[in-house]
Amino acid sequence: MNNRLKVLRAERDWSQADLAHALGVSRQTVNALETGRYDPSLPLAFKIARVFGQPIEAIFTED
């Protein structure tokens, strides 16, 4: 899957560590998410959507 995590994070001027703290995951997990090499679980996807204030479909898209 593709995602806009890096773009959304950059718009808010957050570091990967900031986002990791907000999501309750490690910075390595945020990096894996942003590079598209790891797809989040449904609960984590909802959490990401809540943190960015956007619907899941606006953040994640299929290949």
Binding site: E11, R12, D13, W14, D18, L19, H21, A22, L23, G24, V25, S26, Q28, T29, N31, A32, L33, T35, R37, Y38, P40, S41, L44, V51
Partner: protein, 148 residues
């Protein structure tokens, strides 16, 4: 824009290392206790040995449960993948070695294993565990390298 309030942080490498040190200390104490109490003759000695080892295993298991609950989902996925592929491959390699040595009745004293049947059994188990752990560690590193 200020970052949102932090959630509970997952365990990192430092917590894992501390946990492993703790488990090794408990294991060492249990091993020492089993060696001391195991000298007791008859069923009492057996029961004490089993009890000490079972206690150490229970403490290690409890530590693993506590640690598993504290890591995030990507770390869990890495460990599951590594345990399956790395652990299985490692165990298969270890089994090839151990089975070859036992089926061909090879002289294992060249590997530094000398003694009776009990030593051979524990040597075989440890050999397979070693290969399994090595396979697991390699696979775990590969998962994280692939997901950077």
């Amino acid at each position: 824009m200020t970052p949102p309030a932090p959630s509970k942080r997952p365990f990192g490498l430092g917590t894992f290392v501390l946990m492993m040190v703790g488990i090794m200390i408990v294991g060492g104490l249990a091993g020492g206790g089993a060696a001391v109490f195991g000298d007791q003759p008859g069923p009492l000695g057996t029961a004490l040995t089993v009890g000490m080892i079972a206690l150490a295993m229970a403490v290690a298991f409890a530590a693993c449960i506590w640690w598993w609950r504290g890591i995030d989902e990507a770390a869990r996925e890495a460990h599951k993948w590594a345990w399956w592929w790395g652990g299985s491959s490692g165990m298969a390699l270890g089994a090839i070695l151990v089975l070859t040595l036992s089926l061909r009745d090879e002289d294992v004293s060249v590997l530094g294993i000398e003694g009776g049947a009990a030593d051979l059994v524990s040597g075989g188990v440890l050999a397979i565990l070693l290969f399994q752990m090595a396979g697991y560690a390699i696979a775990w590193a590969v998962w994280w390298l692939k997901h950077r």
